[in-house]
Chain length 396, copies 2
């Protein structure tokens, strides 16, 4: 892998070291022209005929398959659309319906809150004595009892980067008669994922983090081949119907993954996703993983040496860590503001985490070293101790 070549494919603002690609990836240079084409040549010139002529209607499946390759899904079982929260709901509802006698959704405290919130909303509406049980990440394996309908986990913890063993936990879940819903928000494009090998039942993820498809880019959903033709999609919209344009009075699910589509796909966001995936099509995930580990190892070593006031809040063993590193500091919010003011962009995650994402496609060792030098300078000289940095905005 030539990571200098991939770096040249992104627009990175001058003077910025961007360690927040795990929150929002940067702009692929080709995306601007691709989006402009979707606007001018497609929407502008083709108007309604763009659904066929520009292929808009077929894109959710085609884009889904390109993501599928990155996460070990066979072609035909991944589709994009909606937001990740909506796809979590759909996967969870579908999985619950396949285990009607069981009442427990098992998750962990390291799951992204929106996944837990969606489960709470689902239970409040659908629930017939269902409960959401959240345990510590380390306890998940021992808590998968015969009452568990669905094990719902995010593979890589959004704060700490701690990784679950997808294959092992899925095997445990299956042994107990439960199904699995894996959230790949911090996995897709960050680490090698093998949904097929792990025998995952459902998976969901977003495309605006490591995949670089832009703010508000659509989510994706995977349904394993053995479930794809039997699940009910819960959100049974017309584009998941077997014959959307027949306008039949009753819902009939489409073939396989088609049924997980809901409404009209976001054409402009799909154009950005398409340009982003053009870069990913050439990426070997094991080479990317090797480089990612080099970068996180380097970052941790440099922080250990230069920033004694910080505590590592990620696994020290790289085999247990995704492509991000969290560091704790009592004034993490202010420290991150000071960093951003110096051009090092990471993010703050409550209550006291500085979070940094490492994205080999456009971040190298030089940026890692420079970021730590600036971080050390801010800590050594208490440059974060300024009222302006301590005043929290609504969104970080």
């Amino acid at each position: 892998m030539d990571f200098a070549a991939t770096k040249a494919l992104f627009h990175l603002p001058k003077g910025v070291i961007y360690l927040d690609g795990n929150s929002l990836g940067p702009l692929p240079k080709a995306a601007a022209a691709r989006i402009a084409r979707a606007v001018g040549d497609e929407w502008g010139e083709m108007l309604i005929t763009g659904w066929n002529m520009a292929g808009w209607m077929a894109q959710p499946r085609a884009l889904g398959d390109r993501i599928g390759r990155l996460v070990g899904a066979p072609p035909g079982y991944t589709v994009i659309g909606d937001t990740l929260s909506v796809k979590v709901y759909q996967a969870l509802a579908a999985a619950l319906a396949l285990r009607p006698g069981r009442k427990v959704i098992l998750s962990d405290t390291g799951n992204f809150p929106s996944d837990l919130y969606m489960a709470e909303g689902l239970i409040e509406g659908f629930g017939r004595g269902h409960v959401l049980k959240t345990v510590d990440p380390e306890e998940v394996a021992t808590q998968i009892g015969e009452d568990v309908a669905v094990l719902m986990l995010t593979e890589v913890d959004y704060r700490t980067g701690r990784m679950h063993d997808m294959a092992r936990l899925t095997a445990r879940a299956h042994a107990a008669g439960a199904l699995t819903v894996w959230d790949l928000a911090h996995s897709a494009g960050a680490i090698p994922v093998d949904l097929t090998g792990a025998k995952a039942d459902f998976a969901v993820g977003c495309t605006y983090k490591y995949l670089n498809a832009g703010p508000g880019a659509p989510a994706f959903i995977y349904v394993a081949p053995e479930h794809a033709d039997t699940v009910r999609p819960a959100l049974s919209g017309w584009l998941g119907h077997d014959a959307p344009f027949a306008f039949e009075p009753h819902y009939r699910p489409g073939t396989g993954i088609e049924r997980m589509r809901v409404g009209t796909p976001p054409v402009l966001q799909m154009a950005a996703l398409e340009a982003a995936l053009d870069i990913w099509d050439g990426v070997d995930m094991s080479a990317l993983r090797a480089r990612s580990i080099e970068l996180t190892e380097l970052f941790i070593a440099e922080v250990d040496a230069a920033c004694p006031s910080l505590t590592l809040n990620s696994p020290r063993d790289p085999a247990l860590r995704g492509s991000q590193v969290a560091l704790r500091h009592p004034e993490a919010y202010a420290v991150m503001q000071a960093l951003i003011a110096r051009g090092v962009i990471g993010d703050f995650r409550a209550p006291d985490n500085l979070r940094f994402g490492f994205t080999p496609l456009y971040i190298g060792a030089a940026e890692v070293r420079r970021a730590v030098r600036i971080l050390a300078d801010i800590l050594d000289n208490r440059l974060w101790d300024v009222t302006a940095y301590k005043t929290r905005a609504t969104v970080t």
Copy 2:
């Protein structure tokens, strides 16, 4: 209203008479630059800080209020996001939860199929003996019994343009103790709507038809002030949480309409919507309605005179008709293909409808007359009777 001035604000392909703005509105010229700014100056330069600096996070509410003005909603009770099908589900689930003792969702056969499908999916999951009852549009008023929890209707029929009397049916529903969910897909930007005056409980709509926000543009949802702080949103995502970035373990709904937000909003599509609404901000809906009626009346009169083989499938009384006209023909699909080949774009709706939308912002009397001349020529000379026109593509 100066409709020549508004027409100049749109890009309309040369040689095309576009009578399908009720399916996908054309490109506002300013949208291309606005989207390019969102891509280059916002995503490209601001990266993650765009959520605050470019105001992305606040846009769903701001854009919602600008749509709200067009449909008679007070500021603060409309928000954009997701697709229309998802918003139908959310409104319906929220309404059902407010009427726990009642089991009937009443709708009509003129509703858009996806609304009915979403209701079916909701019942299949949430249902505790709930049923979806669909009656003929003319029978709705007499079918609102004491068992009805929610009256769910699309105000303007997507095929025929037949309008329901929102105020009268809402009053009937309330008298029977039921709530209302109004789909404004073919109303917003087409006819004056007064959600407040009609005392509508919930309303949803899309922005890619008459509002011209582009393919896959987000939907909107309105919740009446008396419900906004009590409803449960069903799809309880993190951006509807009272404190999304506190990452609390349990869901707490945000204030009022905020809770109907779910996941990350589509920033590129919002940029297009913003540009589209810049045009609408100057539009007086009663002037637009007067012009719309002139155009549909002219179209029907010309068709009556020139196309004896067509049957009007819309109300002849303009007071009962939205901003579209449907005409029946046994070979409607082939006729529409022939029309499109001649530059007149409308659409086909099964089983035998030619559907034409009339959008005063960029369509005038000259286009209407010319479209009918071409239609008459095609019918008089059986120009539709060509194999290529009869072969149906997947999407029309």
